[in-house]
Amino acid sequence: MMDEAFLPLNSIIDKILDIPGDFKDEDSGVHSYIYEIEIGTPIELDISTNEDGTVRIGTVPPLYRVDTSFRPSYHSITINAEKYTASEDGE
């Protein structure tokens, strides 16, 4: 079982990429949007194995911002994302 403080990797990626990339200034008639973005963050990992040997990846951004002598092990993830354009048939 994955620790409940952690989320599956795909959920974290979905949340990280769920950004409002539109910038509109109707008064001056400017409309900009982000077409490519790179996001890097330290993460904590909970890697566990199922009974059949497959691996489950649980991730969570660092939970605490306080310096302690007993530090979690921070791994890191860098996601390079670009604007997605759906094709006309919706696929």
């Binding site: 620790d3 409940e4 403080a5 599956p8 990992l45 691996v55 530090r71 860098t78 997605y84």
Partner: protein, 254 residues
């Protein structure tokens, strides 16, 4: 405080894993992200797709004489090795070409066809997440059994798919009546929906543990020839099988 305890618990549960299994899971997670994206893009015009992804892991490797396995560094542990995994880019066109919409109404997910979790995961690794995907693989003459080193029994899988499809169109009996045929022989006229859907399987009927001859059958009706033994004036048990996945049992008075 509770989360701290959970973290300590997690650290104790830390287990060794294979790099191959880890990368497989990473790919599956990214596939899921793409599936979500295809749906999200319908309502949200500005969405972002993962072009590439790099993950830095603090790990301790171990070699057991057979294979190298890894364990993630636990809180407070120092001197861990760093492994950097980079998954290459996938273009927008490739996403369109390779990602299909998930959750289509007439598409059956492999989780819904009653196969064991291990087979589901093996299929997912092969990029098969629905019955439609399986059919696409079949069309290309790919032997799934061989592709998975005989870990997937294709015959069992095909049976499960047929069973699942049949479950979506269950037989429904709307009326049962007694009639006489041209030779004045009594027969039981069963009417309904989705009775015999696959012509390669002739229906088999049993009345009170005795086989009864099926005279005619179609998706909407069934005519069962009766003999003297069948007509008892008492409640009789009628069992009808329309294919290997469907069995209808009912009590009637003949």
């Amino acid at each position: 405080m509770l989360k701290n305890i959970q973290h300590l618990k997690m650290a104790n549960d830390n287990k060794y894993w294979n790099l191959e299994d880890f990368v497989d899971s990473l790919v599956v997670e990214l596939d899921k992200t793409r599936e979500t994206l295809a749906i999200k893009a319908i309502n949200k015009p500005l969405t972002y797709t993962v072009k590439d992804l790099a993950i830095d892991l603090n790990i301790f490797p171990t070699f057991d004489g057979d294979q190298i396995r890894f364990i993630t560094a636990q809180p407070g542990q120092e001197g861990a090795s760093k492994v950097n995994i980079q998954l290459g880019s996938i273009t927008d066109q490739q996403v369109r070409a390779t990602t299909k919409m998930s959750g289509l109404k007439n598409d059956t997910k492999i989780e819904e066809i009653g196969i064991d979790t291990k087979t589901q995961k093996k299929l997912r690794k092969l990029g098969v997440s629905s019955v439609d995907d399986l059919q696409a693989v079949e069309k290309k003459q790919v032997d799934i059994q061989r592709a998975t080193d005989n870990e997937i029994d294709y015959k069992t899988l095909a049976n499960q798919i047929q069973k699942s499809r049949r479950n979506q169109t269950p037989p429904k009996v709307t009326a049962v009546s007694l009639s006489l045929d041209e030779d004045k022989r009594p027969y039981l006229h069963v009417r309904g929906e989705n009775l015999t859907l696959d012509k390669q399987y002739a229906p088999v009927t049993v009345i009170n543990n005795t086989l009864a001859e099926v005279m005619e059958f179609s998706a909407n009706e069934l005519k069962i020839l009766l003999n003297k033994d069948h007509i008892t004036q008492q409640e009789s048990e009628l069992i009808m099988t329309f294919d290997p996945y469907t069995l209808v049992k009912m009590n009637i008075r003949l």
